[in-house]
């Protein structure tokens, strides 16, 4: 009976199982899980995301609450990461700080993608005077600025604060995406499928959005993932210098800046937030390497 079922099932395979898209997704996921460091990075990131989302429930104390009876206390069972100069619990502030850092990393890169991808796409597809002499030259000029200095200047122009810092960092990362997307589009533009699409009378916009962009997406995603790490460091740097997140909102960069003054008496104030920046950035870097292996093993 079972044999008969198998025989009858064979000519009508499960459509999902045989779908080439599903098979390539399974293969890609398989490649990702082979990269153990990437998986470890992904897991740590997941923990950070959970900490950030559920901070009000997971943080043992209110991160802003000052306790003058518990100033500069070292790590203990009551305060795992100690307390700062105002008696605030460092662990709770780190948990809330994860919100700021992840938000800053993701939104800054989203801004860079939102501006950089369309410009790179149009520039690489249509080429010509605007591409060669205007967009690329402005991109080159923007890339000539040390990124932190440009971010600092922009943050000063927009005014101190997290939202403005994210906008500044996003603008600093934009030329990187313009250049990357343009390069990808230039390579795809010469492929036969694009010629075929043009010959078939498909509109340029449709060719760019439906045909070229999906084929150029893998390196853009890899770059975007890795840029989140850079954006987190940039936000922390701006907060460290006083132009990012403003007190009393806890952010890893501003906690480090505050802790710097107490490094001799209470090193934990600076050590723990820095450790979290380091671990978050390293996880994103190794996770990004895993995503690269997953999306396009040839990129390695």
């Amino acid at each position: 009976m079972s044999q008969t079922n198998a025989q009858t099932a064979a000519p009508y395979p499960n459509r999902l199982e045989s779908s080439p898209r599903l098979r390539s997704l399974k293969k890609a996921l398989g490649r990702f899980f082979q990269n153990k460091l990437g998986v470890a990075g992904g897991l740590f990131l997941l923990i950070l995301v959970i900490l950030a989302i559920f901070a009000p429930w997971l943080a043992p104390y209110n991160p802003m609450k000052q306790d003058y009876m518990a100033i500069l206390q070292g790590p203990s069972a009551k305060h795992w990461f100690g307390t700062d100069d105002l008696g605030r619990d460092v662990l709770s502030r780190i948990i809330y700080g994860a919100r700021v850092s992840l938000k800053a990393g993701i939104i800054s890169v989203a801004i860079a993608l939102a501006i950089g991808v369309p410009i790179g796409l149009i520039s690489g597809y249509f080429r010509g005077f605007w591409d060669e002499f205007i967009i690329m030259r402005i991109t080159d000029a923007m890339l000539s600025f040390p990124s932190l200095v440009l971010a600092l200047t922009l943050a000063a122009v927009f005014g101190a604060g997290l939202n403005n810092a994210m906008l500044a960092i996003g603008l600093v990362y934009t030329p990187h995406f313009i250049r990357l997307v343009r390069g990808q589009v230039l390579a795809q533009r010469e492929r036969e499928y694009v010629e075929a699409a043009i010959a078939a009378g498909i509109s340029h916009w449709r060719i760019m959005l439906r045909h070229i962009l999906p084929n150029a997406w893998a390196p853009i995603m890899v770059q975007a993932t890795l840029s989140v790490a850079g954006a987190i460091i940039s936000e922390a740097s701006l907060s460290f210098l006083g132009l990012g997140t403003q007190p009393p909102t806890p952010s890893w960069g501003s906690m480090l800046s505050e802790g710097q003054g107490y490094i001799t008496q209470a090193p934990w104030i600076a050590v723990f937030p820095g450790l979290f920046i380091f671990l978050a950035v390293m996880s994103i870097n190794v996770f990004g390497d895993g995503v690269r292996d997953m999306l396009d093993p040839k990129l390695k």
Binding site: L152, A236, S237, G242
Partner: protein, 308 residues
């Protein structure tokens, strides 16, 4: 290069001219009378259209006049010339630290692939890239200055004044700034050397009976250095960005510290001059890297590089 510098100057001018705050009020203070403010604005050309102000600004810079600081009214060029050697000294020592770490670690990692030294080298590269410099700096101060008391925690003494003290003060900042580059170079050198070591000519060199050291140093390293040079050149440019943090932490009076203070106090002429200088250095370094390509690898023609 000229076109890029022109666009860079336009960007800097535009950025600084949208910074909130009135330069005339900053110079004269909050107590200034409206008449005095109006007179100074006229004198500084602040009432002129922006493009006229830009042309004046560029014209003055081309004549070596970067204007005057709004804070202490000192000539910006003079301040800049005092700070440049300090930052260049920090950059030089950081680069030396990066090379001293990256060359042996990268070579060991590539030639001992899959062994403990390779894993340690790869771990160093990965962590060095992820280490925020401000955290590393604070940790180094805590460990080597506060706890072990091997080095002074911060400050700066010119090399010409006291060589020993100057070097002692420069070691921790140089490690702070150089670690990231060391990690980048290690990673790049390892992967580049691994590629080169698989080439036919390397197999031939081994077949001729050459020792491993002669093959790696004499034959493989030169070709493996081409992509490393790209990263090195680009990262050297990033040193100016890194110097902002390092100089702030270690109290080094260089351009990084100058630009941070100028931005925080809205000292426009100083911000413009510092950022222009940094961008100029980046453009020049990139150009020199292009030239160095063709020297290290004669197969690469300068024109082809700049086209790419």
């Amino acid at each position: 290069m000229i076109v890029i510098l022109f666009i860079v100057s336009v960007i800097i001018f535009s950025l600084v001219n949208v910074l909130p705050g009135d330069p005339a009020r900053l110079m004269l203070g909050q107590e200034a009378t409206p008449e005095a403010l109006a007179a100074l604005r006229k004198e500084m050309g602040l009432n002129d259209p922006l493009y006229i102000q830009y042309l004046h600004w560029v014209g003055n810079i081309l004549h070596g006049d970067f204007g005057y600081s709004l804070r202490d009214h000192s000539p910006v060029l003079k301040t800049l010339l005092q700070k440049i050697p300090v930052t260049l000294e920090l950059t030089f020592f950081s680069f030396v630290v990066a090379i001293l770490i990256a060359l042996p670690v990268g070579i060991l990692s590539a030639t001992r692939r899959g062994r403990l030294s390779d894993y340690l080298g790869t771990f160093f590269a990965l962590s060095g890239i992820s280490l925020p410099s401000f955290w590393l700096g604070i940790l180094l101060i805590y460990l080597f200055a506060v706890k072990l008391k091997w080095f002074p925690p911060s400050g700066y003494v010119p090399l010409s004044e006291n060589f020993g003290k100057s070097i002692a003060l420069m070691i921790l900042p140089a490690i702070t700034l150089g670690t990231h580059l060391a990690a980048e170079l290690t990673r790049m050198l390892r992967s580049s050397l691994l590629d080169v070591l698989q080439s036919d000519y390397i197999r031939t060199a081994y077949a001729k009976g050459l020792l491993e050291r002669a093959v790696v140093i004499g034959h493989a390293l030169k070709n493996a250095l081409v992509p490393v040079l790209t990263v090195g050149g680009l990262q050297l440019a990033a040193f100016f960005g890194g110097s902002v943090i390092t100089e702030t932490i270690f109290g080094i009076p260089g351009i990084g510290q100058l630009v941070v203070n100028a931005i925080l106090t809205r000292d426009f002429p100083v911000v413009q001059a510092c950022v222009l200088f940094m961008a100029f250095m980046v453009v020049v370094i990139n150009f020199l890297v292009d030239i160095a390509y063709s020297i290290i690898d004669p197969r690469i023609k300068l024109g082809e590089v700049s086209k790419g």
